[in-house]
């Protein structure tokens, strides 16, 4: 090679260090919130007696913190380290990189403030309100622009497979985020979903599933394909397999979203499609796992000594486990057991703690000493972290599986008289409380490991000297390069922008087929004429239900099983949700389903139950909400809410926004009167009144006799 053509350049390590530090700091915060939430599930008093730290609000805080703050920053740290080195050029634009870093941290901070305040859309993993959604879009585009700019400036002609994964993740998350966040603002911190009921559910789980795919899986596969060979000091087992792995994974993943909604009121064809493609997903997922593990062939002796490799081996194994479990869970008969139970919680934590957490730890333990030009401060502590973390995963997951099966069997049991053996949902919850305690212990162990890691990273940084930039050299790319007889795929890899567009098309096909029919065609949700829009008071009550995250424990979706219709009432119909913006079907039942709770109990029952759940249901794990009886509800935004909903097509009569407050007062007065009869004095402008109105409305529409009721 002619030395004259060699160009010198510097990799920026500073931003990698910042993203790395943010990863572990936010990680500990997210895990701590998780441990607190887990503790509240067996000891409700751990909510510290205020709405801001009550389960319904800190559960989304936990999920957002670990997904977007911990895993998100880990992805960025890994990409900002590996991408320049793979392309032999620094990241394209330093300022854009720092905008990306600080923008992302600000978004996380705003999430940490708004979620406890109850400012939420309640759509899982997309809870943040619209101003933050816009900020996310801006920062994400900056990140993508920086990657594509780097690709254009590259000195290595071909893109290594890790970069394909990074690019696919970028475009897909952008598409998902935009479509799922379509909402119409009412005020700065309140919006209503552009979709209603079944459509909203379908878009949400199309998003939710693919967020798992393209935020938690594909970027991490990219990291695996770079850092695992680095740590093992040998190339990936089969580069060919990695190509097949990539294309089949991004093609198939998009289709599997509806498996989150089996047995719900979702159209049958969408459910079937979701199941088929979920099962097909095993092939590419296991291709990836096998490729990762076989990279270590002949190097297993290193795994015994090197904590980095230990973390990575468990991570890849956990990936294999959860990608086998996922498709199994999408089979309808398995899903019937797992859905709404702790099985799903176990499943996501095998993925989260095992795959994402352990791969992140492995990457950080590998990268950190290199950034500081030293060795790891203590291999022993890293090994301790590994074992505590592994124990944590086991203590977390096993009790959840036991809890899920126990509860499922109890819920399904009928006695000789043909009645439910455990008609009270609470009986089944009390049974699994010990499992919840073990789970919290598992989380605590895992957190302890992460804290050990912080100490180890701190000491490593202290004993070394940080190398802000790293020099490298490579020849510039020749401008004219047109080899004859090059295969088409290889030619594509030289054209990153074209390649990106291609990957976008690949993911769009799956998305389009799944989404378009549901969004465009109104008639695919059979309407039920007796289903009417919510009254102003019920609407405010519903928004309270959303703000307090009730959906975190209570579903509103009765599946067509005998055990559920016996327990809760008539199964849920698609047409019942046409005014639900957003939908509140839920994904986990820690408490009973509420879809038919309306008119089941008197108003005073709800009042006493909210003030102290255990007075009505001894042994209940629900946190008390006494402040709702005194907190005044500010309904000044009611006219604006009505107008927004009218714009979205909710058939409130013309000029209803002006009458809304009067209607509100009228209905509130009725509930206050009902409560007074039962000996409860409460002001009509309190939160509890609106909430009771909403709860009493739930699922009652189709009980009313009308001629056209199917």
């Amino acid at each position: 090679m002619n030395d004259a053509t060699l160009e010198r350049f510097h990799y920026d390590n500073k931003i990698v260090k910042y993203f790395g530090a943010a990863t572990i700091i936010w990680g500990v915060v997210g895990m701590l919130v998780g441990v607190i939430a887990a503790t509240q599930l067996f000891w409700p008093e751990a909510n510290l007696g205020n709405p801001y730290t009550t389960f319904g609000r800190i559960r989304p805080l936990h999920t957002n913190a670990v997904i977007f703050a911990f895993v998100g920053n880990a992805i960025f740290a890994g990409i900002y380290y590996s991408m320049p080195r793979l392309l032999k050029t620094p990241m394209w634009n330093k300022a854009l990189g720092w905008f990306h870093f600080w923008g992302w941290q600000l978004i996380i901070l705003s999430a940490a403030i708004t979620l406890p305040l109850g400012l939420t859309t309640s759509k899982e993993y997309a809870e943040l309100e619209w101003p933050i959604d816009i900020a996310i879009a801006l920062v994400w585009v900056a990140f993508g622009a920086n990657m594509i700019g780097t690709l254009i400036k590259r000195r290595e002609r071909h893109m290594y497979v890790a970069i394909w994964f990074y690019l696919a993740s970028f475009v897909t998350v952008a598409v998902l985020h935009i479509f799922n966040s379509l909402e119409l603002p009412v005020t700065f911190w309140k919006s209503y979903s552009a979709y209603a009921g079944v459509q909203d559910a379908l878009v949400q789980w199309w998003y939710g599933h693919n967020a798992v795919a393209f935020f938690l899986t594909t970027p991490f596969l990219g990291l695996m394909y770079y850092f695992l060979p680095k740590a093992a000091n040998r190339p990936v087992y089969s580069y060919k397999l990695s190509i097949v792995h990539f294309w089949s994974l991004i093609f198939i993943y998009m289709w599997a979203g509806p498996h989150h909604l089996l047995y719900t009121a979702l159209p049958e064809w969408a459910q079937v499609l979701g199941t088929i493609f979920s099962v097909m997903l095993i092939a590419p997922s296991w291709g990836g796992m096998v490729n990762g593990l076989l990279t270590l062939r002949g190097a297993w002796d290193k795994v015994r000594q090197d904590p980095v490799l230990k973390f990575m081996v468990v991570a890849v194994t956990a990936y294999g486990m959860s990608t086998f479990e996922g498709p199994m869970l999408s089979l309808k008969n398995v899903n019937a057991i797992a859905h709404y139970t702790d099985w799903i919680v176990a499943h996501v934590h095998i993925g989260g703690l095992g795959w994402n957490g352990f791969l992140t730890f492995g990457v950080l333990y590998w990268m950190w000493p290199r950034l500081f030009k030293t060795n790891i401060y203590s291999t022993k502590l890293a090994n301790t972290h590994f074992w505590i973390g592994t124990l944590g995963i086991i203590f977390y997951a096993l009790p959840m599986y036991v809890a899920a099966l126990t509860q499922f069997l109890m819920l399904k049991e009928f006695n000789d008289a043909g009645r439910l053996a455990y008609p009270n949902f609470l009986e089944t919850v009390i049974q699994i409380v010990p499992m919840y305690m073990l789970r919290a212990l598992g989380g605590l162990l895992y957190l302890a490991g992460a804290i050990i890691m912080i100490y180890n990273m701190w000491m490593t940084a202290k004993q070394g000297t940080f190398q802000e930039t790293e020099e490298d050299q490579a020849p510039a790319l020749a401008k004219a390069y047109n080899p004859a007889g090059e295969f088409w795929h290889r030619a594509w890899e030289r054209k990153p922008v074209f390649f990106t567009i291609l990957a976008t098309i690949a993911i769009a096909i799956g998305g389009v087929v799944e989404i378009i029919p549901t969004i465009l065609v109104k008639s695919n949700v059979p309407t039920i004429s007796s289903v009417k829009p919510y009254t102003p008071l019920e609407l405010e009550g519903r928004d309270l239900y959303i703000a307090n995250g009730c959906v975190g424990c209570h579903s509103q979706m009765i599946r067509p099983f005998r055990s559920e219709t016996e327990r809760y009432g008539e199964y849920s119909k698609a047409g019942e949700f046409v005014y639900d913006r957003p939908f509140l079907w839920g994904s986990k039942r820690t408490g009973p389903d509420l879809h038919r709770v309306g008119k089941k109990y008197p108003d005073s029952w709800h009042y006493h139950h909210m003030v102290d759940p255990r007075s009505m249901s001894p042994g209940s794990l629900m946190p008390p909400y006494p402040w709702m009886t005194t907190n005044e509800l500010d309904n000044s935004d009611l006219p604006a809410k009505i107008r927004t909903l009218q714009q979205l097509g909710v058939p409130y009569p013309e000029g209803f926004d002006e009458q809304a407050i009067a209607e509100y007062d009228k209905q509130a007065a009725q509930i206050v009167a009902n409560l007074k009869e039962a000996g409860v004095e409460v002001a009509s402008n309190t939160e509890i009144v609106a909430l009771i109105a909403y709860l009493q409305r739930l699922g009652t529409d189709i009980k009313q006799p009308t001629a056209s009721n199917p």
Partner: protein, 60 residues
């Protein structure tokens, strides 16, 4: 319920078939290419992460 859904969308049955065809054809294309790709290219690609000399953290 799914029958009403299907009927309400014109030519819905063609949707999955078209996309399945695109998917299968593309996948076959990639697969054939992978089988035929020259070894030198594969070796070059898989060695990309190993190019740097930072395999050992401590350089004295």
């Amino acid at each position: 319920m799914y029958k009403e859904v299907l009927r309400s969308i014109e030519n819905i049955e063609i949707f999955p078939i078209i996309s399945l065809l695109i998917f299968v054809l593309f996948f076959l294309g990639v697969f054939l290419w992978v089988l035929r790709v020259p070894k030198s290219y594969v070796d070059h690609m898989s060695s990309l992460p190993m190019d740097e000399d930072d395999a050992k953290p401590h350089q004295s």
